[in-house]
């Protein structure tokens, strides 16, 4: 019993870190631009396929496909921004959220159909040569692929954190979040900040897609499920805080794994949505959310 409890908790943490990475891009984009890009899950799906491609064509280690996926999704993000999202930059905040929600929904349908054409509806997965390897510590099984995914997620969370804290560009992004007009008066071109945040968000969705392809599987209609996970984590963690995103991801991962232990894995997906609704009713700024970044 004790072992299955600790196994459950460990699995919750491993999955939770992945959820945090899934939400990171969406949260960054929403925090900076107030674009609610519900096609985030489709960007993640494209990231998964990008890695799958490189993995099966070149036979690279799954985790070494990350650089090409980052480049690919950066390009896709840049194209989507210039074609579509740039037109919504000047709208007032509320109209921005509503319009990007609608546009993102349309985009997700288009991207899904593109994926169907390119890769068919089959489930694909990336199976590393070491995918069955695991460490056993005090009776708890720690699969190697999961551990590597945890490490990858943490590296990207930390990298974004340091980028926003330590670099000039990162500080310009934070300044824009706090007061875009004052940021403009510093000589910051907020259109470039928006573009950068959006493209970074797409690249982060891409890496998350790689990890999903390695740990689960990918198929063209997977996006919505992951957009929902990202939204739940974003609401749990509050906006504008990377620590909040990490904690939100871990909370969701743990809640899901504890639910499947205590009730049944059938309820796993539901419990996140229940949590989502409860938070929105009782603490709409998120568990750790503040108004300032």
């Amino acid at each position: 019993m004790l072992e299955s409890v600790s196994q459950t908790l460990i699995l919750g943490v491993l999955v939770g870190a992945l959820y945090a990475l899934v939400a990171l891009g969406l949260s960054l984009v929403f925090g900076v631009t107030k674009f609610l890009n519900v096609a985030h899950g489709e960007l993640l799906m494209f990231g998964g396929y990008a890695s799958f491609w490189v993995f099966s064509l070149l036979g690279l280690d799954p985790f070494l496909t990350i650089p090409t996926t980052l480049i690919g999704l950066t390009l896709i993000g840049a194209i989507l921004y210039q074609l579509v999202f740039v037109r919504m930059v000047k709208l007032p905040e509320e109209a921005k959220i509503k319009n990007t929600l609608l546009v993102g929904f349309g985009l997700s349908v288009i991207l899904q159909n593109l994926a169907l054409r390119f890769w068919s509806a089959d489930d694909r997965g990336i199976t590393a040569s070491y995918s069955s390897m695991a460490f056993t510590v005090l009776g708890v099984r720690l699969p190697l692929v999961r551990l590597a995914s945890l490490l990858t997620a943490l590296v990207f969370l930390l990298a974004l954190h340091l980028f926003l804290r330590k670099t000039y560009t990162g500080k310009a992004i934070r300044a824009t979040v706090q007061d875009w007009e004052a940021a403009t008066l510093m000589g910051i071109d907020i259109h470039r900040v928006y573009f950068l945040a959006f493209v970074l968000g797409a690249a982060l969705a891409g890496v998350a897609g790689t990890l999903v392809a390695v740990n689960y599987s990918i198929e063209p209609s997977m996006g919505l499920n992951w957009t929902l996970k990202a939204l739940i984590v974003m609401v749990l963690g509050g906006l504008g805080s990377i620590t909040g995103t990490l904690v939100g991801g871990l909370l969701l991962g743990l809640t899901e794994s504890i639910t499947s232990l205590l009730l049944s894995s059938n309820y796993r997906e539901v419990v996140g949505l229940v949590l989502f609704v409860l938070i929105l009713i009782f603490r709409p700024q998120g568990l750790f959310g503040t108004k300032e970044g």
Binding site: R174, L185, D189
Partner: protein
Amino acid sequence: MLSLQGIDASYQDIQALWGVSMEIQEGELVALIGPNGAGKTTTLRVISGLLKPSGGAVRFLSHDLHREPAHRIVALGISQVPESGRVFTGMSVLENLELGAFISSARRERSATLKWVFGIFPRLEERAGQMAGTLSGGERQMLAIGRALMAKPKLLMLDEPSFGLAPILVDQTFEMVAKINQQGVTVLLVEQNIRAALEMATRAYLLENGRIVGQGSGKELLSFESVRSAYLA
């Protein structure tokens, strides 16, 4: 150095400025005074590019500012301290100052400029690591001015720097502004504290209902009957 020629400006359907013309020569301290809602802040927003005029022209050292985006105008040498400072409260004092030197020309001289700003506002050096949101009102105003100076502007525009400050801080703020001007920075000062502003200014403009209704040296405007009865009585 700066000239506004017949500027019209509107917020949606409401016209806020009607044919406003002004001149500022290098080294001057020009005050822009007038009652609430006269269009003083709007004038500053037009110069800094946050609001594009619907008519007229803004020229600054041979550049047509009304055609430039706001972030480029900072790089051309104009910094604005917005009303109530608008410092980045979630960032440290030092980070605020660093962001003031965001434009590439200022970034190269950042450490020298920082010394200069700390020389003018020693309090900011003491508080360098502190979050800007924890500063007092007077300190925030200092930070807002210091942040604008970090861009090494040729023209500094201040929007009511004394607003909401205790009387002793108001005097200090005006001394600071005079000192900055003496160090070679041209200043455009918008103020509610009209007597102090006019006593300090080389020249001044009086704005009412979106139109310039008086101009002259600070002393001349102080003696205007309309100014005396409306603002100094």
